[in-house]
């Protein structure tokens, strides 16, 4: 990604911004937003929508009303204010599973499957798929426990994204996941993946250097990039390479010899087979001299990390990535350098960098509104939050995410989701529209009693126990065999029942809240509110943030 540097947009004094923030802090808490008189400082609904949609998941009109009367810098300070370094959602039940228990569990499962697959009991541990002749394997009553844990873990995170009261922190957790990638496809010891997510939460708005050091010793990372297999005499370069190429510096700032030296320095960092925790194996560490970045010594992994963190390129790399995530796909090299200097001066503290990022003229530029494409998670989670839809069972949401290219805990490779324009292809755009149609339709099948109740789950399907509080199983978006395009927008929209998040609002307010750009499929006057929402959700502009 070598972008053409556009001319610097000029500089703004960070200090003056902070001063104003302090002066205005707390205004929003006193007067309800809708009644607050528009002061000269008030940013207005459009800029409020821009800030919230770039830093969260589909803000509701109420979310927008809540900050639109604030001074812009005060709203940024609110985002960066006190935050909770843990999740609200209760974790799955298996998080304390140990590696031996996990191995035992999978053995048991394989044995069961083998027995079921054969007419006679056999101690053969081979998978049941083996054509033993005779009776074919019956459908399994119990799913593979490993896959079941993976499913529960994805659902857990999606639930957290749906219920969180700090969407920006959640977006940063997602940012770190996409930076320090890991995948359930490779890391089959699910508790490690869960704990890595907690690590990202602890450091979401914290200190990058601290996070990097923790990630290097994180069991999920040691499994994902084969660090646990990296031994003296026969180094595995996987982690060392991605550490330099993707996590800290980017291509062109190191040599192949640096990668080899770093791999040797990290030898011996592994995992305790009994507990699954990080462990140093001194016997497997290469104690010899290494030459890294031109310096020679008997370096350890910690030394390598320190030497990397001394490079100014690290701050630029991370800043560039945040720029792409929150500001624009077009890097402004001058601004990125300036922000990276802020980051370095703050000794890798995230808040000063994020504050400076959201205060850049480029972020606030009106021409920048709607200039980024929503990720699948932003689209789906944002829409569900926007409509206030209850979704007791998350598996179908995860499937919807899969069809448009972003399953939490399963990035396509170590570089993460490429994002940007790549989110929208002929294939994914069709699927995105189909998902949005189903969500609109999900609001139309509600019985009179309770809004938006969906069809009951198929019997026998396991659902998250903790979510069955109402004693009923409910699912959303029962997949239809026939696509929904035969049904006109109007018929779906006019019977839509808008929940409290959108009910009672006029078309203009809805449009301002839902679209960052004027509609491409213009609204007609006199449309029912449900039609307006349906039309806005399916407008090309709704794909943007």
């Amino acid at each position: 990604m070598r972008g053409v540097a556009s001319p610097s947009l000029g500089r703004r004094s960070l200090l003056s911004g902070v001063g104003r923030t302090i002066a205005l802090a707390g205004v929003g808490a006193v007067v309800p937003a809708v009644f607050r008189p528009a002061s000269a400082m008030a940013m207005g609904a459009d800029e409020a929508r821009h800030l919230l949609s770039r830093t969260g998941f589909g803000p509701t009109p109420a979310d927008i009303a809540d900050v639109q009367g604030l001074d812009y810098t005060a709203a940024v300070e609110r985002l960066l204010g006190k935050w909770r370094p843990e999740a609200l959602t209760a974790p799955p039940g298996w998080i304390n599973l140990t590696p031996p228990q996990a191995r035992e569990e999978i053995e048991r499962f394989r044995e069961q499957r083998a027995e079921k697959g054969k007419p006679k009991a056999a101690s053969d541990p081979a998978p049941a798929a083996a054509p033993g002749g005779g009776v074919p394997a019956k459908p399994l009553a119990n799913a593979n426990p490993r896959q079941e844990r993976a499913r529960e873990l994805r659902n857990w995170w999606v639930e957290e994204m749906l219920v969180t009261d700090q969407p920006f922190v959640e977006r940063m957790v997602l940012f770190w996941h996409n930076h320090f990638t890991s995948s359930l496809q490779k890391v089959t010891f699910t508790p490690a993946v869960y704990r890595q997510n907690l690590l990202f939460r602890r450091h979401a708005l914290g200190n990058f250097a601290t996070l990097l050091r923790a990630v290097a010793k994180d069991p999920a990372m040691l499994l994902y990039l084969d660090g646990a297999q990296n031994k003296a005499g026969q180094p595995n370069e996987n982690f060392a390479r991605e550490l330099l190429e993707l996590f800290t510096l980017g291509e062109g700032h190191y040599s192949e010899a640096d990668i080899k030296a770093a791999a040797r320095a990290f030898t011996g960092w592994g995992i305790d087979r009994e507990t699954g925790a990080f462990q140093v194996h001194p016997a497997l560490h290469d104690k010899g001299e290494k030459t890294f970045f031109g310096r020679t010594g008997t370096f350890t992994g910690d030394d390598i990390l320190s030497m990397i963190l001394e490079k100014p390129g690290v701050a630029e790399w991370i800043t560039g990535k945040l720029w792409r995530e929150f500001v624009s796909l077009k890097p402004d090299e001058g601004e990125i350098k300036r922000l990276a200097a802020v980051f370095r001066e703050a000794r890798y503290e995230m808040k000063p960098l994020l504050r400076a990022l959201f205060l850049t003229p480029a972020f606030r530029d009106q021409a920048n509104r709607g200039g980024l494409i929503k990720s699948p998670i932003e689209l789906v989670v944002g829409t569900v939050r926007l409509l206030g839809l209850p979704v007791p069972e998350k598996t179908r949401l995860v499937r919807a995410l899969q069809s448009i290219g972003q399953v939490p805990f399963d990035p396509p490779n170590v570089k993460g989701w490429p994002g940007g324009e790549a989110w929208i292809t002929t294939n994914t755009l069709l699927m995105r529209q189909q998902i949005l149609r189903r969500i609109v339709e999900a609001t139309t099948v509600a019985p009179m009693g309770g809004p938006m109740t969906m069809a009951p789950a198929k019997p026998g399907r396991r659902t998250d126990r903790r979510e069955q509080t109402g004693g009923r199983e409910e699912v959303m978006m029962e997949p239809e065999q026939t696509p929904v395009e035969g049904r006109s927008l109007r018929s779906a929209g006019s019977s839509a029942r808008l929940g409290p998040t959108l009910a009672g609002l006029d078309a203009e307010t809805l449009q301002r809240a839902l679209l960052p750009v004027p509609p491409q499929l213009p609204l007609e006057t006199g449309m029912a509110a449900g039609d307006v929402v349906a039309r806005l959700l399916l407008d090309p502009g709704y794909q943007l943030k």
Binding site: R2, K231, G233, E237, K415, A422, T426, Q433
Partner: protein, 401 residues
């Protein structure tokens, strides 16, 4: 990845009306020599390339195996494929046993093995290196257009074509940019059904690049769905059933598109999972089985349909793997690797030189064929296009009869 110039993209939305002049430059002198395969200046739009990406970097050394070289067993140690399991192609090299399905084509002389394909100053990053291959760039150069888009830039398109390439995979970069109109789909039926519901978005005059992209994709969907539906409806089914793995599923869709005579110049499929840093033997064997069986079935189907001469299959991958194994019974990132070309007009046999195991560079193989020469060969000999992808005097690889 922001890879495109949006102005160009908007311009490309309209059916390209560019003249063939750029292509025909120097055409008078070249015209005499050009008749042998395809004629420069009038591209062979009827010929189709099927690109097969082996994602994650396929281990070339265990794909086409230099079994006669004692250094192979010595350097590969526990990962060496036993000599008696290798399927020999000649006295020196042979295929991994999992690729035995390819032997039908080898015997019929329509399978070419191009050995030692790579490029100078090899990059060992997956992402950067596949970008180098996809955009036909030099290692030191960053390009935004895919190599197929470059090759067809300025070529005048026959009437009645709504799309130029179908990607049955997620990486569309080789066919991205320029005038090329590329559709990404996993399943033809749902594509057609859903595309009908999408209205034509109208003119994408948006200054906002993100919006322009969405509008452009809508336009592509709309245009593609119009012709695709009727062609696919009347098309025959493949004569031989494909296996059920995802790669075979992709090949089955490619076959149906070909049998339906959907006019495209390229179809891309992919097989993933080749990044075998640990416990390589089983994984690699499984993947090569899918590759060999899938391509063998594809070949049989196209022969049965009488289309094998219209199709050129080409594999590629970001790089090969390190000659020596690592401690995890896997291999790290390497450099040059062999690739397969198949088709009714392919000159079967071994092409290029197998890189020497005695002359490694930092433990890696030195390439003998530059992949851009292979691309230039495909452009010139397959389609009659003149792009040489920045190579001043490309060495044509004699793979097309």
């Amino acid at each position: 990845m922001l890879r495109r110039d949006f102005l160009q993209v908007s311009a490309g939305l309209a059916v390209a009306l560019a003249t063939p002049q750029a292509l025909a430059q120097g055409g008078t002198s070249a015209a005499k020599a050009a008749q042998r395969t395809a004629e420069p200046g009038s591209p062979r739009w009827d010929r189709i390339l099927v690109l097969v990406e082996l994602k994650g970097a396929n281990d070339g050394l265990n794909t086409v195996i230099p079994f006669a070289d004692p250094l192979y067993a010595k350097l590969r140690g526990p990962l060496a494929i036993a000599r008696d399991r290798v399927v020999p192609l000649d006295q020196r090299v042979g295929l991994h046993p999992a690729l035995k399905g390819l032997m039908e084509g080898w015997k019929e002389r329509d399978l070419a093995v191009v050995q030692g394909v790579g490029y100078p100053y090899p990059n060992r990053s997956h992402f950067r290196s596949i970008e180098i291959w996809d955009t036909a760039s030099a290692a030191s150069q960053t390009l935004s257009e895919g190599w197929l888009a470059q090759a067809f830039n300025g070529a005048s398109r026959p009437a009645g074509r709504a799309i130029d390439a179908v990607v049955v995979d997620t990486n569309a970069l080789p066919a991205t940019g320029g005038d090329l109109r590329t559709i990404v789909m996993q399943d033809a039926e749902s594509f057609i059904q859903q595309a009908r519901a999408m209205r034509d978005g109208g003119a994408p005059a948006a200054a906002n690049p993100a919006l322009a992209h969405v509008m452009k994709v809508r336009g592509e969907i709309h245009a593609a769905s119009l012709g695709l539906a009727e062609r696919m409806r009347g098309a025959p089914a493949p004569a031989h059933a494909f296996a059920t793995d995802p790669f075979s599923h992709q090949l089955a869709l490619a076959t149906r598109i070909l049998l339906a005579k959907v006019p495209v110049v390229a179809i891309k499929v992919a097989l993933g999972g080749f990044d075998t840093h640990a416990r390589q033997l089983e994984t690699h064997e499984r993947l090569l089985t899918q590759l060999g069986e899938g391509l063998a079935m594809f070949r049989r189907n196209l022969i049965a349909a009488g289309l094998w001469k219209d199709v050129l299959v080409m594999t590629y991958s970001e790089f090969g793997r390190r000659v020596k194994p690592n401690a995890s019974a896997g291999t790290d990132h390497g450099t040059a690797a062999p690739h397969f070309m198949m088709g009714g007009l392919v000159k079967g046999g071994l092409h290029g030189a197998y890189p020497s195991l005695a002359d490694l560079q930092d433990g890696d193989l030195k390439h003998s064929v530059d992949f851009r020469d292979l691309y230039a060969t495909v452009a010139r000999r397959w389609w009659g296009l003149n792009d040489t992808f920045g190579r001043r005097n490309p060495t044509m690889v004699d793979i097309i009869a």
